[in-house]
Structures are given as C-alpha cells and as structure tokens.
C-alpha cells in the first residue's frame, strides 16, 4: 500500500520537480527575507531621516547664497550626485582603512570597521546631497507674496523660515521626495556587496547555499516591488492630503450644490 500523501507533501514534490521555481524552498527560508527586508527598510529610513536633517540647513544656505558655505555645499552635492553610490561606499568601506591614523582612531572599532555603519554613512551623505538640491529648488520657488506677507506680519527671519518658507517648500518638494525615497531603496541593494544581509543579501545567500539561479533573486525582486508599491501608495495619499490646494477642483457636482435649498 502506498503511504498516504498529504497536500503539503504533494506541494513539495511539485515544487521540487515540476515547477520552474522551487517556491517551497523559498517558503522555508522566508524568515531570512523578512529579516532582510527589515534591514533594507531600516537602512533606508535612517539614511533618509539623517540625510534629510543634514539637507535642511544645507538647502537653506544654498537657496540664500550664503557666502563661502554656498560654493562649498555645491561642491559637496556635485561630488556626491555626479559619482556612483557604489564607489562612494567602496571609498568609505575599503578606502579609509588605508590610513594608519584612521585605523588607530577611536572611530575605527565601533564604526568604520563595520560594514553596516559604512553603508549608513555612505547612504546618509549621498541622500543628503540629492535632498539638498531639490529642497533648494523648492525654497527658491517660494512665491514672493508669501514672504512679503510674512514680513508685513512682523515675523522674524527665523519665524518666517519655520512657519512660511519651509512648510510650503516641503509641500512643493513632496513629489520629488517620493522619487528620492524609491531611489534610496533601490540604492540600498548595494549594501549586500559589503556583506550586509539586506533583502538582496538574503536572495544571494539562498542562491549560494542551494546552488540556484533564480529563486533568491526573484523573491528579493518581489519583496522590493511590494515595498516600492506600498511607499508609492503612501506618497499618493500624502500628496492628496498636503497638496490638496493644487489639485484641479472637482466641478462635477457643483450645480447640484447650487440648486439645493
């Protein structure tokens, strides 16, 4: 008598034999992918948050053409926007060890010898360079009337910046920022090249361990797609809320409103 096969046995043999992708194997190691996704999201979030904090003062200095600071920041953003993130990461992770002083400094042991911190430093610098530039554009396009009104109200330059210029600049920068978020997630995939176990790292681990060609990469790809999809959705909602004043007014039911008693 043939032993009875359960549904999961059937699924497993189908997955190993007939299916082009061994999905049960992926299912068995799904925890690694979720953990990798967590690392990817963590790196992205920290890079954006810290990069954004650095970018705000730099963007203000650029927009108001502060002497000395403006050209220096321009040089910084040009360098980081004009070169590949991969090379920047290699420079920090592999390059800094060239110097004896760096290797013996207090920064070496907890920070610069760890791949995770090197990745984070490279991402923060890179993201702050991009954010600075589009934030500068948003600050420069503040309508003159808004600033005049703020001045007429007697606001100090600091209050003006805090209550008028920055809130409206952030709104205008929102669509560009959604691109920056997605590019940061895409860029974060290179963390796996310096042994950080992010999403792509999990995929490469699976492929290497079981000598596979697709499964790990396809799973990582699906995870990235889901993450990007969710983030795009969130930004759509945010734009709907914060850019409400820029949307074309919906006039389809306007006459009905007029005829109401």
């Amino acid at each position: 008598m043939e032993p009875e096969r359960t549904f999961s046995d059937y699924l497993r043999s189908f997955s190993e034999g007939a299916s082009p992708l061994d999905f049960m194997l992926v299912y068995d190691h799904l925890d690694r992918f979720f953990y990798g996704a967590l690392v990817t999201l963590e790196l992205t979030f920290l890079a954006l948050a810290l990069g954004g904090l650095l970018a705000i003062p730099m963007a203000i200095a650029r927009a108001y053409k502060t002497p000395f600071l403006n050209p220096a920041i321009w040089g910084f953003t040009y360098l980081f926007r004009g070169t590949p993130l991969l090379v920047q990461l290699y420079l920090i992770y592999y390059g800094l060890g060239q110097f004896e002083t760096v290797r013996e400094s207090f920064l070496w042991d907890p920070l610069l010898s760890s791949p995770w911190w090197c990745v984070l430093i490279a991402f923060v610098l890179n993201s702050s360079a991009y954010t600075t530039e589009f934030l500068r554009g948003a600050i420069e396009t503040t309508p003159a009337g808004e600033i005049e009104a703020a001045k007429a109200c007697g606001m100090s330059p600091f209050t003006r910046m805090r209550l008028v210029v920055l809130p409206s600049a952030f709104r205008r920068a929102l669509p560009a920022y959604s691109n920056e978020v997605i590019f940061t997630i895409h860029g974060s995939a290179i963390a796996s090249l310096v042994t950080v176990q992010d999403l792509l790292g999990a995929g490469r681990w699976l492929n290497g361990r079981y000598y596979l060609a697709y499964e790990g990469f396809v799973t990582a790809m699906v995870f990235y797609m889901v993450i990007v999809f969710i983030i795009t959705r969130i930004f759509k909602l945010a734009e709907k809320r914060y850019l409400r004043h820029l949307r074309a007014r919906d006039t389809t039911d306007a006459p009905a409103l007029v005829s109401q008693p």
């Binding site: 004009g82 090379v87 995939a189 090249l193 060609a213 697709y214 990469f217 797609m225």
Partner: protein
C-alpha cells in the same frame, strides 16, 4: 597618487570599457524606450498592458537585483533552453553583453516614460494639421513629432543618461573588468584603495561634467525658436 599613475593603463582601459558600456546601453535603452512608449500609447488594450507592465515592473526593482537575475538566471535559462531544443550547446554570456542588455533593458523603462511624456506634450492640433496636410505617418513622425519630442524629452533624457552612467559601476559586480573593477583590483594589490577610489570618483565626475556641458549644448540647439518663459 603616484601609484595610481603607475597603474594608468589599467585605469584607462577600464574607463574605455565603462564609456563604451554606457554608450551602447544608451542606444539600446532608446530603442527599448521608443518601443515601450509606443506600446503604452497604442490603441490596443493588450499592448498597453504589456507596456505598462514593462515600465512599472522594471522601475520598481533595484538595478542590481535585475542585473544579477539576468546575468546568473539568464545564463541558466539560456542553457536550459539550448538543451531542451538542441539548437545550441553550452554558452557563456559575456559580462559586457550582459551589462549592455541589462542596463539597456532597465533604462528603456525610464526612457519609455520620458518619451511618452514628451509625445503627449506635443499639441494634438499639430498632428491633426500634419495629417490634414496629407503627410504620411512616417513623415508626420520625422517632421512634426520627432523634433518636438526631442525638445520636450531632453531634460529628463539628460537625467536618465547621468543615472545610467552611474549605474555602469554596478556591472563590476558581475565581473566585468570596467573602471571600478580594475581600480579595486589594482588598489587591493598595492593596499591603497582610498587613492584608487578617489581616482575613480574623479573620472566619473569628469564624465558627468562633460555630459552635462554637451547635453546643455544639445538642449540649446533643440530649443532654438522657443520662447523662454
């Protein structure tokens, strides 16, 4: 930096590989982009779906993941296909070809969006006027659509090109002996990775700066006769 200069031959040959990789991928991406834009704007629902799937799918996944999938997975798929059909024996995909195909295919999706936006920006009346004047579809494209499409597409095209140039660095990961690969190899052998990476950064910076100037010149040429707002 003296050591970097001693290794100049390796660096220069790597730079040439990087530049040719970027240019060939750009050409392929223009073809893929035009195809994608026409798919997305075609009358048939099914073709539109194919075009939309192409652009959204590719743009939501990191380049590096796609590159590894196409390079490692594509290799196996190609050989399985060859074994199944008996048409070819074992082939090994060359890293350069894999790089061009992957980058061209990926950036084609970005180009498709650029071109679609540019075509949509052309006033519809002009196309109608061209048809009413008795122009053939080919003539409409070459005389009316193309020159204006280039004008509208250029800013975003320039941006795509700069992103593409920077993405070529990723091809070093699948083992192509490009600028980054060569510099890392040379830097490792003399334990001076910092100097070598700085040299790579500077070379990339020069490439982007030159393309910046060149693209601005093209932009000026194609917007001749435009009224600046």
């Amino acid at each position: 930096m003296d050591t970097v200069f001693e290794y100049r031959e390796v660096i220069i040959s790597g730079t040439l590989v990087t530049i040719s990789l970027a240019i060939l991928s750009l050409l392929l991406s223009i073809l893929c982009g035009l195809a994608g834009a026409f798919l997305k704007m075609s009358q048939s629902r099914a073709l539109q779906k194919v075009g939309n799937a192409y652009t959204t799918l590719i743009r939501s996944v990191p380049e590096l993941v796609l590159m590894m999938l196409i390079f490692y997975g594509g290799q196996v798929a190609l050989n399985n296909l060859g074994a199944a059909t008996g048409l070819w024996d074992y082939i090994e995909i060359n890293q350069f070809v894999a790089g061009v195909l992957t980058l061209g295919f990926i950036f084609g999706a970005y180009m498709a969006e650029t071109f679609r936006g540019a075509i949509l920006a052309i006033p519809k009346g002009q196309l109608e006027a061209a048809i009413a004047a008795g122009m053939s579809p080919y003539k409409v494209f070459t005389v009316v659509t193309w020159p204006q499409m280039v004008r509208y597409a250029l800013p975003s095209f320039a941006n795509n090109w700069l992103v593409l140039v920077k993405s070529t660095a990723l091809v070093s990961v699948i083992g192509l002996h490009d600028l980054v690969w060569n510099a890392v190899a040379a830097g490792r052998s003399v334990q001076q990775l910092f100097s070598f990476m700085i040299a790579v950064l500077l070379i990339y910076l020069v490439i982007t700066a030159i393309s910046d100037v060149a693209l601005r010149w093209v932009e000026r040429r194609y917007s001749a006769g435009m009224v600046r707002g």
